[in-house]
Structures are given as C-alpha cells and as structure tokens.
Amino acid sequence: MYAMDPDRQSELNALRPDLLRFARLQLRDAGAAEDAVQETLLAALAGSHRFESRSSYKTWLISILRNKIVDTIRSQSRELPASSLAADEAGDERLDDALFDRRSHWQDSARPMHWADPEASFEQQQFWKVFEACLDRLPAKTARVFMMREFLGFETEEICKEAGISASNCWVVLHRARLGLRTCLETNWFAGAGT
C-alpha cells in the first residue's frame, strides 16, 4: 500500500469523474473504463511528481489514462469487425440527405456557418459538455476510430490495422465522424446562444 498524501488524494477524487467520462467516451464500456481509471489512479499515487496547479495535474493524469486506453484498445482490437461499421452507415445516409441536395451541394438550411471565436468557446465548461454529448451521439464504431485518431494520436495505417479495415474505409469513417461532429456542434452550440 502506498502512503497517501491527503491533499493529493482529494485532488484525485475531484478529478476522478473527469477521467471516468474521458475513458467511457472512448471505450463505451463502463467496466473497461473503470479498470483503466483505477490503473491510472494507482500509477498516479505511486508517482511522486509535484504539480504547480490542478490543471497540470489533470493533464498528467490524462496522459497516463490515454496510455491505459491504448492498451485496452489493443487488447480488444479483434472485437471491431467491419460488419459493425456497416451497421453505422444507415444513420450516415440520413445525415447526408439532411445536408446535401440531389446534386450533392449543400442544402440551403445546412450550409456551414462561420464559427465565431472558437477559442472563447474553448474556455467555457458548457462548450465541453456539448462537445462530449456530440461525441457520445456518434455511432459507436465510428466514434472509436475517430477518437483513436484524434485523442490517442494513432496514425491512420495503425487504426486500419487495429480495426481490420482498409485505408480508404478508414478515411470514410473519419470523414463521417467529422461531418457528424461538426454538424452537432453547429446545431447545438455555434448556431445558438452558446457563443
């Protein structure tokens, strides 16, 4: 058992929900997310680093957690069959019809807007709640591939290999994720009172 600094432990308890949400978003499996966070907390308690602020502590914890998530994904990579990606495609077609006309140009109602001052949005907690909700709304396998690319820093080739899909399929999936996410953010944040 590690000797626990009481301050450190209360910081950890305060950050735990953030870590758990981060892991759940990516793993979509409450048990696996819980395991990854537990391992992160144990590793953090064993470390003796000192941090100037809570935000730098959080950054450090997230970097440990990212590695745990990568380990988990690698150990379950065979569970991402192409067939479940195909199941995500029905929703994709509905989104396409809402966004594009028959000539594949933007519908008037769906033409992308100018997003004013995104940096200011990044400073607001409410923006990140919307961001998480939008990620959560992506189809599961699409979200998995997207987060491997954007949060965990996988190169496309590696994602293809882990997910057992072709490079062109991988680009399609990433495109679907970005299209869905920006549409959700525009509707629920940038077009509204949030900005």
């Binding site: 100018h114 997003w115 990044f122 987060m147 299209l179 525009e186």
Partner: protein, 60 residues
C-alpha cells in the same frame, strides 16, 4: 468541378494524408467560390484544435 460532398471528403482526408496535386487544386478552386465549404474547412481546423485540447486534458 467538385461537388460539396466530394469537397467535404477531401477536407477530411487532408487531415489524414497528403492530398495529390490534382486534389489540392480542385479543392482550392472549390472553396474559393463556395462559402459553405470555405467555412467547413475552418471548422475542420477548429475540430482538430478542440480534440487536441480535450485529448490532452486541457479543458476548463
């Protein structure tokens, strides 16, 4: 001439692989005359910045 749908595909792919000369040329031409896709391209950059921030635990 690219359709907006094709342009959005390329604007995603340019984040994952180098586009060919012809693809870059076609895309540049398209965003020059299409406000929606021009905005979309900026949104892709915002999305990447947001993901960097979120993925590194830099959110408030």
């Amino acid at each position: 001439m690219l359709s907006c749908r094709q342009a959005t595909e390329l604007m995603s792919q340019e984040q994952d692989r180098p586009l060919t000369f012809a693809e870059r040329f076609g895309l540049r031409l398209h965003v020059l005359i299409c406000t929606g896709c021009n905005n979309y391209r900026r949104q892709m950059a915002v999305l990447r910045a947001a993901c960097r921030r979120f993925g590194s635990g830099g959110t408030p």
